[in-house]
């Protein structure tokens, strides 16, 4: 079968569309998270997602609804990270570590209690974008519209808070509200990214495209747009390569992202000599 033939299948088209949307969501939010040194929040929330999957499985919720079912727990965990950071007694990385450890530990304990359940938790660890449902695709589209709208309408606030939160406060910016919205959207992005890349690789979707864009000498707006472009490019190339060479989709997308980052670093080094 030729590589392009795969894309005649409806479930593959759905996967590609969902992949592009989820990559776009992650890369847009990722710019703000990486610059605010919350790069590893994706990792932390992925671990929480693992624990949350175990919770919903134990509650007997159908695997078809797991993505939506884990959302409330992951959002609460994301806000817990924000709250711990705000307390001024803990840095962001430590707060992520606390919530992440709790997520993974709770997951392992709950899985051991759910031995009778026939659920393939490995599929959550490594992701499987080909199982994206129509409802998940529509949800991804809705979240993308929400994230894009939030960035357009609150661009100046988000830029000021990312540059310096205290300075933004003195400009009358509602930093608490903006932070809460950002962390809720990040939780949603982490759960959706789990579908493509799996829990193990969620943070790569949030970190790699923004990092690659940041290596280029550009202003803030252009960095956001290039990050978006890199993420979409990596998903499209990754899916073509994965189907053509019979490789796992999530891993291939992440490797493409790494290659993009290294290429940009190489180009930048060559031109700055």
């Amino acid at each position: 079968m030729a590589m392009g033939d795969f894309f005649h299948y409806e479930f593959v088209q759905r996967a590609l569309l969902a992949g592009v949307l989820i990559a776009a969501i992650s890369s847009l939010l990722g710019v703000f998270l990486v610059l605010r040194r919350f790069s590893l929040i994706g990792d932390g929330l992925a671990h929480v997602t693992f624990g949350s999957v175990a919770v919903v499985v134990l509650l007997g919720i159908s695997p078809a609804h797991i993505t939506l079912a884990v959302l409330p727990l992951v959002i609460v965990s994301s806000l817990a990270i924000l709250k711990l950071t705000r307390s001024r007694r803990m840095h962001g990385d430590a707060a992520i570590g606390v919530v992440s450890s709790f997520g993974i530990a709770a997951g392992i304990l709950l899985i051991s209690l759910s031995k009778g359940y026939n659920v393939d938790l490995l599929s959550y660890l490594f992701g499987n974008i080909l199982t994206v449902t129509q409802a998940e695709l529509m949800f991804s589209l809705a979240v993308f519209v929400l994230v894009a709208a939030a960035i357009i309408f609150f661009y100046h606030d988000l830029f000021a808070i990312t540059f310096d939160e205290e300075l933004a406060q003195t400009m009358g910016k509602k930093t608490d509200i903006i932070n809460t919205v950002l962390f809720i959207l990040t939780a949603v992005a982490a759960v959706l990214a789990m579908k493509i890349a799996g829990i193990m690789l969620v943070s790569s979707m949030l970190i790699l495209p923004p990092l690659a864009a940041m290596q280029l000498p550009m202003g803030f707006k252009k960095t956001i747009l290039v990050s978006l472009l890199f993420s979409i490019l990596s998903v499209i190339c990754g899916m073509f390569l994965a189907f053509g060479l019979n490789l796992p989709v999530g891993g291939t997308i992440v490797i493409i992202n790494i290659v993009l980052l290294l290429s940009v670093l190489g180009i930048q080094k060559t031109f700055t000599r």
Binding site: H156, E166, F220, K222
Partner: protein, 246 residues
């Protein structure tokens, strides 16, 4: 009109008092220098005035409005001691930084401010590529672009070379005199502060002195507190003859 009213302000970190029972009033158009040793509560006082920290005891009013009901933040300009996120990789141009927060200003006014600070040629450069002095001038341009009524500087000249520091201070005096902008300048450099500020607030967790430099220089209490040598050094710098405008 009073620009700043601080009444019996007390603030603690983890039950440890950083500033205690501070009261003073600053009229619009004033140029106040806040000085004190390290850990004396200078930055804490300023952060309370700017609403970054919330007063635990006492009250603050800006331009006659209690801080809790104050919403005209566009009239306040703030230049922090250091920018949290500012590293070599922060992807923002000088122009993006100056217009941060969605400031609406005409291209000619923006150009005028950038030219007055000698950074017009850098407007498309990334902030991380600039020297510290150029970064500080960019941050000053950001604070000035609002045409603020109150400008607050928190140790703005740390790590600046003496020449750039003098230019920076002279510009603050120019803004104060020409635009009638109220200025609060925090510094640990009591030798320099007297050249530019007209009033002094000396802090060491409590208010040690608040008044004009002339009052400070005549004060027997301050002679007792600082010793004749230190008091003379501050007063000598405040001779009003070393005006340097850029």
């Amino acid at each position: 009109m009073n620009a700043v009213d601080v009444n019996h302000l007390t603030f603690s970190y983890n039950n440890l008092e950083a500033i205690s029972d501070i009261t003073f009033t600053l009229q619009e158009g004033a140029y106040l220098g806040i000085a004190g040793p390290n850990g004396s509560g200078k930055s804490t006082l300023v952060k309370n005035i700017l609403g970054i920290l919330r007063p635990q005891k006492g009250s603050i009013a800006l331009f006659g409005t209690p801080l809790s009901r104050f919403h005209q933040w566009e009239v306040i300009g703030y230049l922090p001691q250091r920018i949290a996120a500012l590293d070599h990789h922060f992807p923002a141009t000088v122009e993006e930084i100056v217009l941060m927060g969605g400031v609406k200003t005409s291209p000619s006014k923006l150009q005028e401010i950038l030219e007055s600070l000698k950074i017009a040629h850098l407007r498309r450069r990334l902030i991380g590529e600039l020297s510290y002095g150029q970064q500080q001038r960019t941050m000053l341009a950001r604070a000035l672009v609002h045409w603020p009524r109150l400008l607050v500087f928190d140790e703005p000249t740390t790590a600046l070379d003496p020449e750039t520091r003098d230019i920076f201070y002279s510009l603050t005096r120019k803004v104060n005199r020409e635009n009638h902008t109220t200025i609060i300048l925090v510094t640990h450099d009591t030798g320099i502060i007297g050249q530019y500020a007209r009033q002094l607030l000396y802090l060491d967790k409590k208010l040690i002195f608040f008044g004009t430099f002339e009052e400070f220089c005549r004060s027997q209490d301050m002679t007792g507190f600082f010793g004749t040598g230190s008091q003379h050094l501050i007063c000598h710098q405040h001779d009003g003859t070393k005006e340097k405008f850029i």
